[in-house]
Symmetry: C2
Subunit: 337 residues, 2 copies
């Protein structure tokens, strides 16, 4: 901080060579004698020189992939980040994360900020933004959208088959004899955007109709606190369902809290199914039956798709992860009336 950061000129002066020569050494370019390399490298080490990305970015690609994630706790997003990191770790690309506020809006500042920083591709997780904006963004910068279903010719998608996942949940409960199955949906986004939660809700409706059961949907946010309130309100209304299918594990934990406070036992009184198979779902204290969608794998795939797009590909691709029912102790036979 005392003196300013050393530049390539400082290195050149210290080594007694030209700036171009130093640049060659940095880039491992052709035309560097061993003696010169040796001198330059010593100067670099002595000065503690590191090239500035900003200056490099003026002329070359940044070898960086940006990841825009909602500032939402919940294991699932962490799983995705892990996957991206794992995949890029061994290669030349680095990852840069820009969090955004998880609200529906016209633009997505997290993605824009990455664009301004010249990342070569953007992976965005569950953006709540107009489809048209997303599409036009993707026309300017290679984009991979994770956990959102809107089709587009301009970006790749990594999604779970949420329709099938919801069907798995409903069928599992129906097999156990449940007929009054309420879905706590986090499908709070506006129109013109296909969130995973919208698709899960559609899958629920479809499966319920197919089985000849009455629909019952409560819509609320996906945080633990919001599902807690929504579930508590549902229980206060009296005549509670015998089973809950909640749109996320995080949400299911909130429902479990509410059920516990209302003195209802799980699964004796009410069965609960979540979605995501996050780390805590498997904990014996929860032992939550849930739908696995393999977030880490999705993150890895997203990173691969981004690298492919940077390289050459332009036609849009879609990768669909197949959900699986993970049966645990939060579901059981329906109570007979």
């Amino acid at each position: 901080m005392s003196s300013s950061r050393p530049t390539i000129s400082d290195v050149a002066a210290a080594a007694g060579v030209s700036r171009a020569a130093v640049s060659k050494v940095l880039r491992d370019a052709y035309g560097v004698s061993p003696r010169m390399r040796e001198r330059v490298e010593r100067a670099i080490a002595e000065l503690g020189y590191r090239p500035r990305e900003a200056a490099r970015a003026m002329r070359t690609a940044t070898r960086t992939i940006g990841v825009a994630v909602p500032l939402l706790r919940g294991q699932f997003f962490a799983d995705i980040l892990d996957g991206v990191y794992e995949e890029l770790d061994t290669g030349p690309y680095r990852m840069l994360v820009s969090p955004f506020d998880h609200e529906t809006s016209e633009r997505n500042p997290g993605m824009e900020s990455l664009w301004d920083r010249e990342v070569e591709a953007v992976i965005v997780v569950s953006p709540k933004v107009r489809a048209s904006w997303l599409d036009s963004f993707a026309q300017r910068l290679p984009t991979v959208v994770v956990a959102r279903h809107d089709a587009s010719d301009h970006y790749d998608r990594v999604v779970n088959d949420d329709r099938a996942g919801a069907a798995l949940a409903v069928e599992h409960l129906a097999t156990l004899g449940h007929r009054r199955i309420t879905h706590l949906s986090h499908n709070v986004s506006g129109p013109g955007m296909l969130s995973p939660h919208a698709v899960r809700e559609a899958g629920y409706r479809e499966a319920m109709r197919r089985l000849g059961l009455d629909l019952s949907v409560v819509t609320c946010g996906g945080s633990e606190a919001e599902t807690y309130r929504a579930t508590a309100a549902l229980l206060d209304r009296g005549d509670p369902p015998t089973a809950l299918f909640v749109g996320s594990d995080q949400g299911a934990f909130g429902s479990l809290r509410a059920l516990s406070e209302h003195g209802l036992r799980v699964p004796d009184d009410v069965s609960v199914v979540g979605y995501d198979d996050t780390q805590f779902a498997s904990h014996p204290r929860f032992s939550l039956t849930t739908i696995a969608q393999y977030g880490t794998a999705m993150g890895r795939v997203a990173a691969d798709l981004a690298l492919e797009r940077i390289k050459a590909r332009t036609e849009a691709r879609e990768w669909v992860s197949q959900p699986a029912l993970i049966e645990r102790e939060s579901t059981g036979p329906a109570r007979l009336l």
Copy 2:
């Protein structure tokens, strides 16, 4: 992607003015007539122009604070990120996150990457890196270190009083009549670095000695899986303690899993205390007694300290959060033999 990103020259041409004029509009600088502003702004909107950060960074500060965080799940880091975001959200600064692999090493690539990108300050959470490296890094770039105790004249520290926190845990258990209290410490870092876990362990030892109790420390990683294994091994050895003080909530959840699988009830057979007061600790399924250290608040303070340093301050500051015992149902009276 078809054509390349529009530049300030394109905007100038479209608006029929000079590049300097456009730059003035962008920066809200003096000497812009309403008519010119209008024309420039229309051209910007039509072209979808956004200034490139890299070009800006060549001449001016980036108005960005970098946050380097370990790629470790666990609520506590998420809390800190939330705090930083909240604090910066209202001002002109943006935040950029660079994750790093949570291993002890010579250098910290997450911090370096942010430095290369010209962030104005770095907040780093729990870096496992040599103290000397950290110190020399901080001499070049304003740095705030969160959750690490090593003193330094060159960076600010935001820490919890981990010694006091550990004492709270031990005293609470002792008051309940426990005498065989095992500490599951995550103090796995090498020498020459004062991690929070090292301080917690020291606090435990001190408090136990003060109370005349025998020490019992098991060292293991802080992930749920690792404490699960460590706790299971402890229980297999036979003669288990009547209380566990685990270095983190995340770790405590692993211990609870192991206890549950060994058929031990909490708190009837064994009491458990965690550290962090993460979201799940308060869930009725866990109801974990723990030490709160207020991660979100720590994140906010870290952001403030970073902004102060950017502005002017050079002398090092330390902010210590006072821990509090949150008593829940995972602790109870010691079982009489």
